[in-house]
């Protein structure tokens, strides 16, 4: 027993303290200047941003910046209130109207972050007698939404319809009256794989479960008007709730949930992560509204997926152990051990490429990843530059064979 609240963190602190300090430390890096959606000055060097989730490059879109600037100048820097206490401006309502149009749904509720949208919706919808059934590889916000609520939480094997069915079957067998919420993601962010929504929603409906799909990494990226994977796989009529974020394709911050359920709006009265936090600042609301309008009519999706294919194929051809396939805007290579992964990250930043170091437990299956999220704003030249640096560092650290080794092998 100990009175020291911090003792439990000793293992993680020891592990952290073994990481090299200075510019090689992935946890202390900061951007001195941001030049564009894809470039910044880091450690005094112009650096390509390869892991920003800025899929559409919206952060510097001129129309979005103009909308945000106008709102900032006329409405001020913040609302200083929650949505239910002086924090709802016309802009917030207008953004919700824009979301309804974007998704063609009856209802939309805007939250202050995507994390809070999941936290709020999941913890509130499923009560003490209900069940939440989640994919094993769910994002932290989904796990935390479960932890905040009072429902029984059951986890099924990642993207495995048969494993989901076993669990739903047992829940229904033991409790025919239970409310069940199945929570899925359109694209899983670490390995970029899509959920087989057709199979998963069909099974969920067979057991009279509600389905929530988190499209955080797929809004703007998939579907003919950019609504996400549910639209892409033509299963929107099987999905009861779509949650998403403005912090990726939409280029700012904020979260939302849309639905056609006739009682959906009651969330505004009962959902604590909606009620007990300040609402989004007017400038954020304005740029999100503008970006949503732009996304539904844009052709950036094909450019984005071309970029992803170029990097994924290049890394694969170079001989890296791939975590991703290129089916989404994520490209990740698997690095054997954590020490090499941290070293890889440090070499890349010094070469002028800022990738994501992704480590367990944030990654599935204990993988250490060098993760990139592509943007439609990346040029092919930038992607080829990333590729060149990946290969250079991969050879230096022994993940790839050197040129001489290759020649010897083929000789």
């Amino acid at each position: 027993m100990t009175q020291d609240l911090f003792e439990k963190f000793n293992p993680i602190l020891n592990s952290y303290n073994s990481i090299p300090s200075g510019e090689n430390n992935p946890f202390t890096v900061s951007m001195e200047k941001v030049l564009s959606p894809t470039t910044a000055i880091i450690n005094g060097r112009e650096t390509i941003l390869a892991g920003t989730n800025n899929y559409m490059g919206m952060t510097f879109n001129e129309e979005c910046i103009k909308a945000a600037t106008d709102a900032l100048m006329t409405l001020g820097t913040g609302t200083t209130g929650s949505r239910v206490l002086n924090g709802t401006y016309n802009g917030h309502k207008n953004l919700e109207e824009t979301l309804k149009k974007f998704y063609d749904t009856e209802y939309a509720v805007v939250f202050s972050t995507g994390y809070q949208a999941n936290l709020g919706v999941i913890s509130t919808l499923a009560g003490p007698k209900d069940y939440i059934v989640i994919d094993a590889d769910s994002h932290a916000s989904i796990y935390d939404g479960c932890a905040l609520g009072n429902a029984s939480v059951v986890r099924f094997k990642h993207n495995d319809p048969e494993n989901l069915e076993k669990r739903l079957n047992r829940i229904r067998r033991d409790d025919p009256e239970a409310g069940i919420l199945v929570v899925l993601e359109g694209v899983y962010s670490m390995l970029g794989d899509q959920a087989p929504l057709k199979e998963l929603t069909t099974i969920s409906k067979k057991y009279d479960a509600y389905v929530l799909v988190d499209e955080a990494h797929s809004i703007g990226v998939f579907g003919k008007t950019g609504r996400g994977v549910a639209q892409e796989q033509d299963v929107e009529d099987q999905v009861d709730f779509i949650v998403g974020t403005f912090s990726k394709s939409v280029g700012t911050i904020g979260g939302y949930c849309v639905s056609n359920h006739p009682k959906f709006e009651v969330l505004r009265l009962v959902c604590r992560p909606y009620m007990f936090t300040a609402s989004l600042p007017p400038s954020v609301v304005a740029s999100a509204t503008k970006a949503l309008e732009l996304i539904s009519n844009s052709n950036l999706r094909s450019k984005l997926l071309q970029n992803s294919a170029r990097l994924n194929n290049g890394l694969d051809d170079a001989g890296f152990d791939m975590g991703t396939t290129g089916e989404s805007p994520i490209a990740a290579i698997i690095v054997g051990d954590q020490k090499t992964a941290i070293a890889f990250w440090g070499e890349m930043i010094r070469e002028g490429v800022y990738v994501n170091l992704a480590l367990p437990p944030a990654t599935p299956n204990g993988l250490n990843l060098m993760r990139c999220s592509l943007s439609a704003a990346h040029s092919f030249e930038q992607i080829d530059f990333m590729l060149e640096k990946f290969i250079k560092v991969g050879r230096k650290l022994g993940l790839l064979q050197s040129v001489t080794e290759r020649n010897l092998e083929t000789a």
Partner: protein, 83 residues
């Protein structure tokens, strides 16, 4: 179908085998996080195997109280008896 605690313990011990990297001997006092050095995600994977082995639902909510193999065994027995 009633099963004795010992039978359930034996079946759970079998399921633990692939997770027992150091090949320690398993008793009812074995602690998952310390003796088997399993992280929380791995314990959830093991939980999945146990659900399928016994055809029961074990909500994740129960995990904080299930630190040892013995506690797991008792929880499974209780869930089976409630069916």
């Amino acid at each position: 179908m009633t099963q004795s605690v010992d039978e359930i313990f034996e079946r759970i011990s079998m399921l633990i085998k692939p997770f027992n990297k150091k090949n320690i001997s398993i008793s009812k006092d074995t602690v998952f996080s310390i003796d088997l050095e399993l992280d929380s995600l791995t314990v959830m994977d093991l939980l999945s195997e146990i659900e399928d082995e016994f055809d029961i639902t074990v909500p994740l909510n129960m995990l904080p109280d299930l630190e040892t193999v013995g506690q797991f065994t008792e929880a499974v027995q209780k869930l089976l008896s409630e069916q």
